[in-house]
């Protein structure tokens, strides 16, 4: 269960949102919408514990998300978190290593689901934007976290890719875990349990 209490975030002296309180129960999807600059990414980074809110607390299962060591959550942001020189497999194996995830899984099989057959061993910098995105999203298949924080997961994916990720989110929610996400594409086949609209504030 994710709980936000009176969260206020500022960026470069501008208040993005004030006294935000909400609860995301297990198995629920929180969808955050808003115009560019409204503070969607900052809110997601605050939930993941990467941005320190000016005020308020953010707890995942009663543990503050910015505590050390980090809470059990998966964050996929604008930056892919992949090193361009290394291959998809090397990047994913390294990610599993630092996140204590099992490295005995079949990476080839996961990349096959994502339609990346034959691209497993070439440097990520040679992949297209959509393919890089798919490699970054392969973490959804590897992670054992209780919460997914996804910042624009559908950016540069084709319609087939969007459908694949949507299905994965559905099955994850069905297992009783929570998802927080933003997207500029309308959600298809999936109904958010809560929608939060952020306004651009001067």
């Amino acid at each position: 269960m994710l709980q936000l209490e009176n969260v206020t975030c500022e960026r470069q002296g501008r208040v993005l949102f004030k006294d935000l309180s909400l609860t995301v129960e297990n198995g629920q999807l929180l969808y955050i919408e808003g115009v560019n600059g409204a503070g969607k990414t900052t809110l997601l980074r605050a939930i993941a514990g990467l941005h320190l809110p000016t005020n308020g607390t953010i707890c995942m299962n009663d543990i503050k998300t910015d505590s050390q060591p980090a809470a059990s959550l998966l964050y996929v942001g604008h930056k892919s978190g992949l090193n361009g020189e290394l291959s998809a497999i090397e990047n994913l194996r390294f990610w599993c290593n630092i996140h204590n995830e099992d490295t005995d899984v079949d990476f080839y099989e996961i990349l096959e689901i994502l339609g990346l057959v034959g691209l497993e061993d070439i440097p990520v910098k040679q992949l297209s934007a959509g393919q890089t995105r798919r490699v970054a999203l392969a973490k959804l298949w590897l992670s054992q976290a209780d919460l997914w924080v996804l910042d624009e997961p559908f950016t540069s994916l084709d319609s087939k890719g969007i459908r694949l990720i949507t299905q994965k989110i559905q099955s994850y929610l069905a297992q009783g875990f929570s998802v927080v996400m933003t997207s500029h594409q309308p959600l298809v086949d999936i109904e958010p349990h809560q929608t939060l609209s952020l306004e651009y504030q001067l």
Partner: protein, 222 residues
Amino acid sequence: MMQAVRGIVRRECRLAFLQPGDVLQPIIFLLLVATLFPLALGPNPSMLNAVGAGVIWVSAILAILLSLDGLFKQDQEDGTLEQYMLSPQPLWLLCFTKVVVHWMLTIVPLLIVSPLVAVFFKLSWDMYWALILTLLMGTPILAFIGGIAVSLTIGLNRGGILLGLLVLPLFIPVLIFATSAIDAVVLQLSYNVQLAWIGALLMLTLAFAPQTIAYGLKVSQN
């Protein structure tokens, strides 16, 4: 825990293999600077001998400064640093591993080429031995203090110049003890005291720097 440490070591070694320029750059820099001095000062052996150890130490400091810029840069740009923060492992451990591997990959090669440089300056065997010992104990201090400065300047656009301004004054104590150790060799005195001081500084840095780097990175993410 060991899984994360091994993962970082393997990844950094692989990256160094794929981008050998990052490893070679400090070595070439050290060799070039050390070559320029005998040319500029003339071939007088006593003169070269007197300045040699100091020149090598200063060149090594500048070479380290040059390499520090890349410590977290790539990770910051591609978002790996965010994933480090979200790791269930303590962040200081990841930072500690990262800096130690950086020291192994970019600074230990400097120690390996140092005999060649010592020949340029006609250092005696005892002086060379003192130089190696001080470099071996002093450079990890520089790497860790540099790591703190890098973690603080990582979010800035022109962090490079600020990095030098922040770090060079902090390198002075190590430089003073190191060159004083080599002076002691010239006077045929024992230099255990200087080594003990450098060792004490090393222990202090090892105890506090990893936590500080971790905190600096966290603040820079904001």
